[in-house]
């Protein structure tokens, strides 16, 4: 039986009827048309489905939409300010930290959560923070460099 749930996604309130067996990834992509959140493995291994749920980055493929009822969610679509990219997104572009882009939304959201808690992370702390996000193309070096650059950029602001 479908249930009515309330979500705040990227500061916008939604009321949606969902079947209990649909994941948060499915609702975001199929019902809200927010296609930035990707599904890779579907079982918690790759991090392509990362979203920020009540302030914490999680694998949305392992969250039931009904479990997220009443929660505040940020997806990659909510990171830029209109046409102005977030400093982390700018740094990813600048440092060549994106190739196919499949891992990028998850990487950016994991990096954003890290920098909000710890504005000046060490290289090890950065690697640890993105350790649940797998990238098949770029190699992690450029991604780590981009996050380091973003940390510097954000401190100046």
């Amino acid at each position: 039986m479908k249930r009515l749930i309330n979500l705040i996604v990227n500061n916008k309130a939604y009321e949606i009827a969902v079947a209990p067996n649909r994941t948060l990834t499915q609702i975001l992509r199929e019902d809200l048309n927010l296609l930035g959140t990707k599904e890779g493995c579907g079982i918690g291994d790759c991090g392509a489905c990362t979203v920020i749920l009540n302030g914490r980055p999680v694998n949305s493929c392992l969250v039931l939409a009904v479990q997220a009822n009443g929660c505040n969610i940020q997806t990659i679509e909510g990171v830029a300010d209109g046409n102005n990219l977030h400093p982390i997104q700018e740094a990813f572009v600048e440092y060549g930290a994106i190739q196919c882009g499949f891992c990028t939304p998850g990487m950016v959201l994991s990096a954003k959560s890290l920098l909000e808690k710890n504005p000046k992370p060490t290289e090890m702390e950065i690697r640890e923070a993105i350790s649940g996000n797998l990238c098949r193309c770029t190699g992690y070096q450029k991604i780590v460099e981009a996050i380091q650059a973003a940390s510097k950029k954000m401190k100046k602001k």
């Binding site: 579907g42 918690g44 999680v58 039931l64 009904v66 994991s110």
Partner: protein
């Protein structure tokens, strides 16, 4: 895209309602906490409960409550919080160590301590340190509540003594004794998202900072169907003054205390050799802490 089979969903507001729902389901229902084990198993078609009962909205199940000479950890507390509370890091460092190597930061933000226990994977990260520290757990159903030693909870891979209608409400950890220390080391092929090849949790208590060992627990994980005691290593340590030689002897005995299997993550021979190395390292770290503690 991996799809979930159909199921009903219940979200009880308190424990007694949850117990009633579970009893009514007569074994066709399952509790969902973080879902990081259950949803994976359901997506793979390994289990298909007709109803999931979420414990996520039950107040008091997601907190740590300090009590007189112990703490109560609610079963629905996420693993990330075990790495964030200063109380855990300071007083129960080996639990902190185990929590910080579980899965990935993303998994730790959903995975719960209760789920890690009830799922009873032979390589689960939290049971070894909890057993080494003598943790007890509370199980509740419609008829009442029972408290048992965590150690007695596990039967084998995925098997425990929990009844179909029981809920694990929390974990009780006594305050560690004076002059005690513990350490947990997990060996994997990589640092994140890794199932242990071997893991060892050691906990020792001295009678005074430079005294003799009055209690020793060496728990080996991933080398048997469930976490086990390195019995002969523990026997050797108790009553003795800790020296490097004694630790080496205990570590060597520990590798004889286990009967691991060969699998894709490592051969039995390699696992035995690593049990020795990790036992030595964890005992050395535990001793250092015990000498310093209060």
């Amino acid at each position: 895209m991996l799809l979930l089979p159909r199921f009903d969903y219940e979200e009880p507001k308190d424990l007694s309602e949850a117990c009633k729902i579970l009893a009514g389901l007569k074994g066709n229902g399952k509790i969902i906490a973080g879902g990081t084990d259950l949803l994976v198993n359901m997506k793979k078609g390994l289990v298909s409960p007709s109803c999931l009962v979420s414990i996520g909205r039950i107040p008091g199940l997601s907190e740590i409550e300090p009590q007189n000479s112990s703490i109560f950890i609610g079963s629905n507390l996420i693993v990330a919080k075990l790495t964030e509370f200063a109380l855990i890091r300071k007083r129960y460092p080996m639990l902190y160590e185990a929590a910080s190597v579980l899965g990935s930061p993303l998994i730790r933000n959903r995975a719960t301590i209760g789920g890690n226990i009830v799922t009873a994977r032979p390589a689960a990260d939290l049971p070894p340190p909890l057993i080494a520290m003598g943790a007890k757990i509370k199980l509740k159903n419609k008829r009442g509540e029972r408290e048992i030693e965590l150690e007695k909870f596990f039967k084998g891979p995925g098997e425990t003594i929990i009844k179909q209608d029981e809920i694990l409400t929390g974990i009780i950890l006594d305050e560690p004794p004076m002059f005690s220390g513990g350490s947990y080391i997990k060996l994997g092929h990589r640092k994140a998202l890794e199932i242990a090849i071997v893991a060892v949790a050691s906990f020792i208590t001295l009678d005074k900072p430079d005294g003799i060992i009055v209690d020793a627990k060496v728990i080996l994980s991933s080398v048997a169907p469930k976490a086990i005691h390195a019995v002969s290593a523990e026997k050797t340590l108790i009553g003795e003054k800790p020296t490097n030689k004694l630790i080496e002897k205990a570590a060597n005995l520990a590798s004889g205390d286990c009967t691991p299997i060969d699998d894709i993550r490592g051969s039995a021979e390699y696992r035995c050799a690593m049990v020795e190395v990790l036992t030595k390292r964890t005992l050395t770290a535990a001793l250092k802490q015990a000498k310093k503690s209060r």
